[in-house]
């Protein structure tokens, strides 16, 4: 129970900071920091969604960035047709009521189809086949010239929803922040539910679960689809935030970064991925804004950190912090 209390503190501190700091950034004219916070919160949603299958399900998906991309293009493509025409009429819209459900459904569908195939494989084969499907998505978008191909797509008009104005940075931030809170609560609910128990049981001992009578494949596929849907939603937020989307956001290195956030913060703890995203984004920013010539080479300490975290910080920062707190 002390562990839970420790984690509870981390969660509380992070969430309070994420709720309080951004308005201060705005009040003090630090628009840049608000941008950073928005990106952080969106990627945290993606990392939390990945954690559902990676941390709790033990499924090492190396293609999660594709879902982020799908969600972003589900905003970009309708906006593109709205401005330039073409495409079916129902798609020519900037309405969030179409774009967000589309992002969620498209990502869920992608997860369903690819997951149905991927989940028949194990271990490193699973890692590679999830990556392969993400690469397919990447090249699919690259090859569609209408949507900018390699060069990407500018979203001229953000999603329109009655209760939020995405062109107001602070409103956008809080929409993302509330989304993060909801996603966190959802994942926590799922993990603690009977479904979540089966998912974690299958991670711990698949054979045992099968002899107990569980169709492990069906449970994993369901988790995979839920995770995909959440990440698609994060993608739609990301598209609205950056207003420029390109296939590059589906690159395997982006998937690797999402995995790193999860592991850095601590897989199979609900708040771990959020902590991971915070540390990742803040560190990325701090290192890359070091004075010349150091800033140019920020990938070097960053890469070293990644290696060190994997080699020496088992269980991620959450475990590290709670373990200290207990002593």
């Amino acid at each position: 129970m002390t562990m839970l209390r420790g984690r509870g503190w981390i969660t509380a501190i992070i969430m309070i900071l994420l709720a309080v700091l951004p308005p201060i950034f705005v009040a003090t004219g630090n628009a840049f920091w608000l941008d950073l916070a928005t990106r952080l919160v969106i990627l945290a949603i993606a990392a939390v969604s990945l954690n559902l299958i990676l941390g709790y399900g033990g499924l090492v998906s190396f293609g999660h960035a594709a879902l982020l991309g799908i969600g972003a293009y589900a905003v970009g493509i309708p906006a593109h047709h709205w401005l330039y025409g073409g495409g079916p009429e129902w798609l020519q819209t900037t309405s969030g009521w179409l774009q967000f459900p589309l992002a969620i459904l498209a990502a869920a569908l992608f997860a369903l189809v690819t997951g149905a195939i991927c989940l028949r494989t194990r271990g490193v084969y699973f890692i590679m086949i999830t990556m392969a499907f993400a690469q397919m998505m990447y090249y699919l978008i690259v090859s569609i010239e209408e949507y900018g191909g390699d060069d990407g797509l500018v979203i001229d008009q953000r999603s329109e929803l009655p209760f939020v104005d995405f062109s107001d940075p602070l409103q956008q931030y809080f929409f993302c922040f509330v989304s993060l809170v909801i996603v966190l609560l959802l994942v926590r609910m799922i993990v603690n539910s009977r479904f979540g128990m089966v998912l974690q049981g299958a991670k711990g001992n698949e054979e045992r679960m099968r002899t107990l009578g569980y169709n492990v494949y069906a449970y994993r596929l369901t988790a995979y689809v839920i995770s995909g849907a959440m990440c698609g939603f994060a993608g739609a937020l990301l598209g609205n935030f950056t207003t420029f989307i390109s296939p590059e956001m589906m690159d395997w290195q982006r998937s690797g970064e999402l995995m790193f956030m999860v592991i850095l913060g601590g897989a199979s703890t609900t708040v771990g991925p959020v902590l991971g995203a915070v540390v990742f984004i803040v560190l990325e920013h701090l290192l890359s804004s070091l004075p010349e010539p150091l800033g140019v080479y920020w990938h070097l300490p960053f890469g070293l950190l990644l290696i060190i975290v994997v080699l020496f910080v088992r269980g991620g920062l959450t475990t590290l912090l709670t373990r200290r707190g207990d002593r």
């Binding site: 195939i117 028949r120 490193v124 990556m131 290195q253 990938h299 990644l306």
Partner: protein, 307 residues
């Protein structure tokens, strides 16, 4: 269909296949023997290219540069094995993927620090710059043929090493049964280091061969490593023969697919539809093949023999 164009594309496909084999062979050895997923293997391809580029300027000879660069790249591999890879052997694949992902960042940035942000062109000696006319009015750049012959020679050498030497016997045994090799009292640590260094040299050689055509550049290994993973999974992890056949297959399919898929498609669909869908499908083709192999024949097309 233009025959000479087809032959050129065929040779391009073989060239790509052989380069892929050089990268994939090391990857499949390391993967098969050490059960170690090394995403940073592609960075060694880049390291080889840059070392070779520097040496070409220092010595004035591309060929001399390759000869010196090979052991140097192997040494880089040897050091990486000791420092980063070894502590990871006992870890799960997730840890391996992440740590070697970090290693890519480190190596790419190190290359940036040492060789600068620009790519480095590698000048070829005069006699490799020309073209060779073949029968039927076919003209081929000499260096492309050199790549093909070098690739074939390296593949041949590797087959000899793996099949007819004591080291090769241990490598093969290690790929199929790790505990047996350690039970034989072999210095397994040294064997692992050597395998890693060998893999590094092979990947480096591929980088050196491509550098005169594309330049040595930061991040050049990051796309070939993914294709090399496709190769070893299609071929069957741990299988040298599988890596060779799958590399040629993937090289040919990728090259020919990009050139001819629209024509093949237009046989069964309208020309407009074919022209629209062919580029997308051809770029995805190798991943589609890999997914199909994993779904229907997860052990790969040419898995190593189980003893």
């Amino acid at each position: 269909m233009d025959t000479s164009l087809f032959i050129i594309q065929l040779l391009n496909g073989i060239q790509l296949g052989l380069l892929l084999f050089l990268v994939a062979s090391g990857l499949t050895l390391v993967f098969g023997i050490l059960d170690f997923v090394n995403l940073a293997h592609g960075a060694l391809y880049m390291v080889g290219a840059f070392i070779c580029a520097s040496l070409t300027y220092a010595t004035g000879s591309f060929i001399l540069a390759v000869i010196i660069a090979l052991p140097l790249t192997a040494a880089v591999g040897f050091v990486i094995e000791r420092l980063v890879a070894r502590p990871l052997y006992a870890r799960n694949h997730l840890d391996q993927v992440l740590a070697t992902f970090g290693l890519i960042l480190v190596l790419d940035t190190a290359a940036h620090l040492i060789w600068g942000p620009q790519g480095m062109a590698v000048p070829l000696p005069e006699f490799l710059q020309g073209q060779i006319s073949l029968s039927g009015g076919l003209v081929l750049p000499t260096f492309r043929l050199v790549i093909i012959f070098t690739g074939l020679a390296a593949a041949g050498g590797l087959f000899w090493l793996v099949n007819y030497t004591r080291l090769g016997m241990l490598i093969r045994a290690g790929a199929s049964n790790r505990t047996m090799v350690s039970a034989l009292g072999i210095n397994i640590q040294l064997l692992f280091s050597l395998v890693f260094a060998l893999g590094a040299a092979l990947a480096g050689l591929a980088g050196m061969l491509i550098a005169p055509i594309t330049e040595a550049s930061i991040g050049m290994g990051n796309s070939i490593i993914i294709t090399a993973f496709v190769v070893i999974i299609v071929g069957g992890i741990g299988s040298m023969k599988g890596a060779f056949l799958a590399a040629l297959m993937i090289g040919l399919i990728d090259t020919l697919g990009r050139s001819y898929l629209d024509e093949i498609f237009s046989l069964v669909m309208s020309p407009v539809a074919a022209e629209n869908s062919a580029p997308a499908i051809s770029a995805m083709l190798i991943y589609i093949i890999m997914a199909a192999v994993l779904a229907f024949r997860p052990q790969g097309l040419f898995p190593p023999k189980v003893r």
